[in-house]
Amino acid sequence: MSILVDEHTRLLVQGITGREGLFHATQMQEYGTNIVAGTTPGKGGQVVLGKVPVFDTVAQAVLETGADTSVIYVPAGGAPDAILEAVDAGIGTIFCITEHIPVLDMLKVVAEVDARGVRLIGPNCPGATSPGKAKVGIIPGSIHLPGDVGLVSRSGTLTYEVVQALTDAGIGQSTCVGIGGDPIAGTNFTDVLTLFREDPETHAIVLMGEIGGDAEERAAAWKAEHMPDVPMVAFIAGRSAPPGRRMGHAGAIISGSGGTAEAKIAALEAAGIRVADTPSQIPGMLREAGYRA
């Protein structure tokens, strides 16, 4: 098994005829992901990637192809509506890759997404890969190895770094999930940990956090309570960040006493989770935490 995406995923790509959408749709299809449809208003009736039908609306795409998961490559101005379009059409799991969506727009979107019981990952996230089964988003497929370590991260390329480190060490992954670094996101660390706990094929966890907010602290507390025996290693980016300066992600602001790397590391260690100093330490620390591939 795995979480969020797998070989049964019927993927819809929203914005499939755009530059980003088409490039990544190609990559996903090459990885073996089952892309059943794409949408771009006004381009309905086209076929891309050899066999993928394009629809004007998500409702039509779902009706005709049974798509159950969508990934969004729509510019920030249209992305909130694209998420809601997927919700209204009955999509159950939505990945929003788009970055720079205004926070106030996301407040409304997540309220609606939650009310409708839909899973949204992102926005501003790299997506998720269940190695050997499906990849949805923009994580390079080549760095993965199938296995039983679940990875969840707020970052993009830092995720790749760690996946590569795991794969190089011969440690495979069940699913790697990038939840995105925006201040308002559909899915947080705890949500993903909850999914991993239910997955019988995930036997260890790697969590990649960063400064800002308190999602890592909450995840640490939840892990200690709900899955105390699962080996877990974490990493927090931003130890060297000067207080009060933004580091690209809106999420990475240190405000007041909370949200510092020190506070997060302390909370994780208090929950019995080892925190690596460098990504390259993670495979070794996983084994020290009791993980056996």
Partner: protein, 392 residues
């Protein structure tokens, strides 16, 4: 984007909030004439406030009263040019000093955990709200606005009564709603009034009246939403910003200048922070934070490189690219372009993995330019720190 007090007050006024008059002075002479006008209009004293985007300016001596135009000029002269937590004061705000009866705290702030806008109010105003939260948490009333319906009337009333403004709740409710409205209208993560005050004023005929006034304001805007508020870009205070930061923003790069000697060019904010962390851990000091973003093209990479090199203290450049959306070959081409224009000979350690990394390696290799390649992040960091030490 953080706004200076004077810009923040402008947004409050647009939202219909009561703010006493103010003006902005860049020189002591300007401050003098503004103060003279307020004093002539009946003010007992004026307040001169340093306009800087860091907290604690009061304790640092950046806020002073003056009773005469002469005194105002002298005080402004002392504050302008002052260094407050590393920021040079280039501008002061001048306003009539308020006769404060009582101070309150009021804010609308993005609550990331709750994923709502939170309204916070307190009868303990004029001090840092973090201090109140620690010493007397019951003195803070706090509630979440509805994500769709906004701050409801009854919520505003609840805040007013809990703040102890019950006997003037009909005056307080529009102020509380106004703070929320200002946050929504401007896509602000934070709108804070501290102090909100009941101010006593005496009319020329001797009548004394009291009213609620916003005496200070902090506003932080959501950078992702600035595109729909083109007018707000004009409120940005460029004088306080590093010109390099301004240039980086123009290029769509996320760049922050720091104190060290190792220039960093990375794709992705998380990886950029992690790279800096590793530099520091290895004994080096990063000269900057730089995220070149997802689909960075060669020309953007070259521009980013010029930005880094414009800092004379940079002794070595560390490039760490994990290709995903960004393609290694594009980055490599950008590096070569930058190298060709480079006037200063700074060693470069480059690590490019992921999408088109092979191509990137070939491009750099064939160029014949002396760029050191590294395959692991740890090795790249170690080598960069080593080179920086050698150069020091």
């Amino acid at each position: 984007m953080k706004l200076q007090e004077y810009a923040a007050k402008e947004l409050l006024v647009r939202a219909g909030l009561p703010v006493p008059p103010w003006s902005v002075a860049d020189t002591p002479a300007e401050a003098r004439s503004q103060a003279a006008a307020y004093l002539a209009a009946g003010a007992d004293r004026v307040v001169i406030k340093a306009q800087v985007l860091v907290g604690g300016r009061g304790k640092a001596g950046g806020v002073k009263l003056a009773a005469t135009a002469d005194e105002a000029e002298a005080v402004a002269g002392a504050i302008l040019g002052m260094d407050i937590k590393g920021i040079t004061v280039r501008r002061v705000l001048v306003a009539p000093a308020a006769d404060i009866v009582r101070e309150y705290y009021l804010a609308a702030v993005l609550d990331r955990g709750a994923r709502r806008i939170r309204i916070m109010g307190s009868a303990e105003g004029g001090v840092e709200i973090e201090q109140v939260a620690e010493e007397d948490p019951d003195a803070i009333v706090s509630l979440l606005a509805h994500p769709h319906l906004g701050l409801l009337d009854h919520q505003a009333r609840q805040v007013a009564f809990a703040m102890g403004l019950g006997d003037r709740w009909k005056e307080a409710v529009p102020v509380i709603r106004g703070v929320f409205a200002a946050a929504i209208a401007n896509d602000a993560d934070l709108v804070e009034i501290n102090p909100l005050a009941i101010v006593r004023s005496v009319e020329p005929d001797g009548t004394v009246s009291e009213s609620i006034q916003a005496l200070d304001a902090k506003v932080t805007l959501d950078d992702s939403a600035l595109f729909r508020h083109p007018d707000l870009e004009a409120l940005r205070d460029l004088s306080e910003e590093d010109p390099v930061d301004v240039e980086a923003r123009g290029l769509g790069l996320s760049f922050i200048r720091l104190e060290g000697s190792i220039g960093c060019m990375v794709n992705g904010a998380g990886l950029a922070m992690a790279t800096m962390d590793l530099v520091k851990r290895a004994g080096g000091e990063p000269a900057n934070f730089l995220d070149i973003g997802g689909g960075a093209k060669a020309d953007k990479v070259a521009a980013a490189m010029r930005l880094i090199l414009s800092d004379a203290s940079v002794q070595v450049i560390l490039v760490n690219i994990f290709g995903g959306i960004a393609r290694g070959d594009e980055v490599a081409r950008g590096l070569l372009e930058a190298r060709s224009q480079q006037t200063r000979d700074v060693p470069m350690v480059v690590r490019i993995v992921g999408t088109n990394a092979d191509l990137a390696a070939r491009i750099l290799d064939e160029s014949g330019v002396g760029i050191e390649a590294a395959t692991s992040l740890d090795a790249a960091v170690e080598r960069a720190v080593e080179l920086a030490r050698a150069a020091a």
